[in-house]
Symmetry: C2
Subunit: 410 residues, 2 copies
């Protein structure tokens, strides 16, 4: 067990999280959309805390908070995000930011640590305006045209207007200095039930899964729901329902051990109760860490579509609308988290992929990256009732800080 001076202070971590929970509180969760008043208060709160950790604070032109150390030696970048989904949980984002702040507070003044922890809160990880806008800006993959095009998916307000309204327009966007960081470490709630189900404390993320998304369209023949006999119908909605069921029946025979697939959206056209739908559409998503598995499932999907079209009632068209390659987490980072878990979590850790997207997948495009998960009670995510046991929060903080120490001492 290392020097208690080099450990996370569990009470301080819980107190900080409770403070952040007070901004935009909603039931036991928070409502903190990107650039809302409680989100901006959260950014300012973090910027005010950073000097206590020996860091110079900056809020840049896209809403990232960055804490930079003047200390010499290797720098480890850490962080997560502070905005929330609408009416969602209190830990999704803030947990990783407070762990990062705690690591900086503990390790930056420590005489035995050869370097410094730097802290970031990436703006809009939750995608109110776009896809990982803050971290993509930092790694240099977000253009001014991307920002011009970004709009709040709820209100339609442009990102440019929002930046102006919160006083960030005109500020420079911070970008990564090549070679400055030995890597990036992020903590997050699991958002699933693997840890809880196994009585485990820490998930050591091996990869962030790829997400392939499809628009699957069915074309039949629109007709009158009263005068068209069942035998002659070409009902696009029914074809869609049969397709969903066929996916559910046939994917298990071709998928990997952790593949997941989801139909999250369905529309029937024209969508009136007395009209047989002539067209129907579904948004379908496959996630896996192995591109080969995804490829196999995509082939199966195409085969199934061809079978339906061959029957002649309805035509099926599959369009891939999103291709997200999996991001591999660095082996050295995984070892550091595992070693820290052995010390502070009694070794109750497991290697696992992340089914959700995180800023770490963006940072991983320019530096070695790692992630650790803490358990989610009941696996609940993106809902105000999301929660994690206080003891698990504290254990996670101790493992996180120790993993940072190991990475900076390596």
């Amino acid at each position: 067990m290392p020097d208690p001076q080099l450990q996370a202070d569990g009470a301080r971590v819980l107190a900080d999280l409770t403070t952040l929970r007070g901004f935009g509180a909603y039931k036991s969760g928070v409502h903190k959309p990107t650039f809302s008043e409680p989100h901006m208060r959260s950014l300012e709160w973090l910027a005010q805390r950073l000097p206590e950790a020996g860091l110079a604070a900056e809020i840049d032109g896209i809403g990232n908070v960055l804490g930079s150390s003047p200390k010499s030696g290797p720098k480890l970048l850490t962080g997560s995000h502070l905005e929330s989904q609408n009416y969602a949980g209190w830990l999704d984002g803030p947990l990783g930011v407070v762990y990062a702040l705690e690591a900086a507070r503990v390790l930056n003044p420590a005489p035995g640590v050869n370097g410094a922890v730097e802290v970031a809160a990436w703006c809009d990880e939750e995608g109110h305006f776009g896809s990982f806008l803050g971290s993509r800006s930092f790694v240099g993959s977000l253009t001014e045209a991307d920002i011009d095009a970004a709009r709040d998916r709820s209100s339609g307000r442009t990102m440019r207007d929002a930046l102006r309204e919160v006083g960030l327009a005109g500020r420079a966007r911070a970008t990564a200095q090549r070679g400055r960081h030995i890597g990036y470490l992020e903590a997050h709630i699991e958002q699933g039930q693997l840890l809880e189900g196994g009585g485990l404390a820490i998930g050591v993320v091996t990869s962030i899964v790829g997400i392939w998304q499809y628009r699957i369209s069915f074309t039949g023949e629109q007709n009158h729901a009263g005068t068209t006999r069942m035998a002659v119908r070409r009902d696009a909605g029914l074809a869609l329902a049969r397709f969903c069921v066929a996916i559910d029946d046939r994917f298990p025979g071709a998928c990997g051990p952790r593949t997941v697939w989801t139909t999250g959206h369905i529309t029937l056209d024209p969508g009136a109760p007395s009209i047989i739908p002539g067209r129907a559409e579904m948004l379908f998503q496959i996630r896996d860490e192995d591109p080969e598995v995804i490829g196999r499932l995509e082939d199966l999907l195409q085969d199934m579509a061809a079978e339906v079209s061959a029957q002649g009632r309805c035509r099926v068209a599959i369009e891939r609308i999103r291709t997200g390659a999996p991001a591999l987490m660095d082996a050295g980072f995984q070892q550091a988290i595992e070693a820290a878990s052995a010390t502070f979590a009694g070794g109750r850790s497991i290697r696992m992929p992340s089914g959700a997207g995180h800023d770490a997948q963006v940072l991983a495009t320019i530096m070695p990256s790692g992630m650790l998960f803490v358990p989610s009670i009941g696996g609940i995510s993106h809902h105000w009732s999301e929660n994690t046991d206080d003891a698990d929060i504290v254990t996670g903080a101790k493992v996180f800080v120790d993993a940072c120490r190991r990475l900076l001492s390596a």
Copy 2:
């Protein structure tokens, strides 16, 4: 073959239909929503034609056009509607109105006919603002409160505002004088393929089917599409798809020979591609002429819902939101149409139920009623490409006028 003076003039019928097609023309169809400018021009056109048929014209306070005869003797009420669905066909409604006008023109001055044909164009049969508002007003089943509540389903404009804008507010609503009419006869395109498929010219409607409509709701558990393993999901959307397929598999074993059922609308909640739907809902409709068949299918639906709920993944709730009893057409009217078909259509007629709703089902609540159908090319309905062969239109007109003659001579 009766006196040629007592027959429909096919060329005049086609010319009138062509004139009406010019109001609100869209491709080969029309766009004539209730109280639109082309709809109002159609009503005025009809009102101007009625005196040629010996009828006094009136447009009442709900938008019905009524032509009343001063002639003594029995009165036969005839008609249909003049507004259209959005961007729909040219004959759905106008065909029946022009047949009625033609019957009045031919029969009202005829010395051998003991009575008169009266003509109506019922407002809003297509349900832009409500359900059979015009004919329900006439039979006395529409309250002022119903009108207060009626709104255009597309624009949200209230019916009161629309009536004011077209200058009908403040006019009295005409209502049926009990005992004035021996009954009501309406002609319409079939909107299906039974006549065309059998090489037939006339459908003799036996009943207008009942429509039972249901809201079927599925409750599962909303969760993250990336972090929730397939094995623990409670996907309400998938439960809905399986239910649709189960209906399609099991209803044929319990339905009647002409039962039809349709899922016209589906929503997944929250409807985002990365969220497993926690709730899903479908609007489901059953149509049949036999209430016993509907009752049996409703029982089956409830059994299927109980089976799904018993499996424990998702709960299913079935709410009946519309109950429409079938309307029986009068036997004497059916005989008159058949006899007229024997004379003018070479007997190429068939008795059949109407799968679609019509004003005749409303009139049937207060007087003997009948309907005849003419063939629809390809069964297409509620689409601008809807059509009927000119020869079939003319045959239908001759059968209609002769059926009116027989009913007034009986």
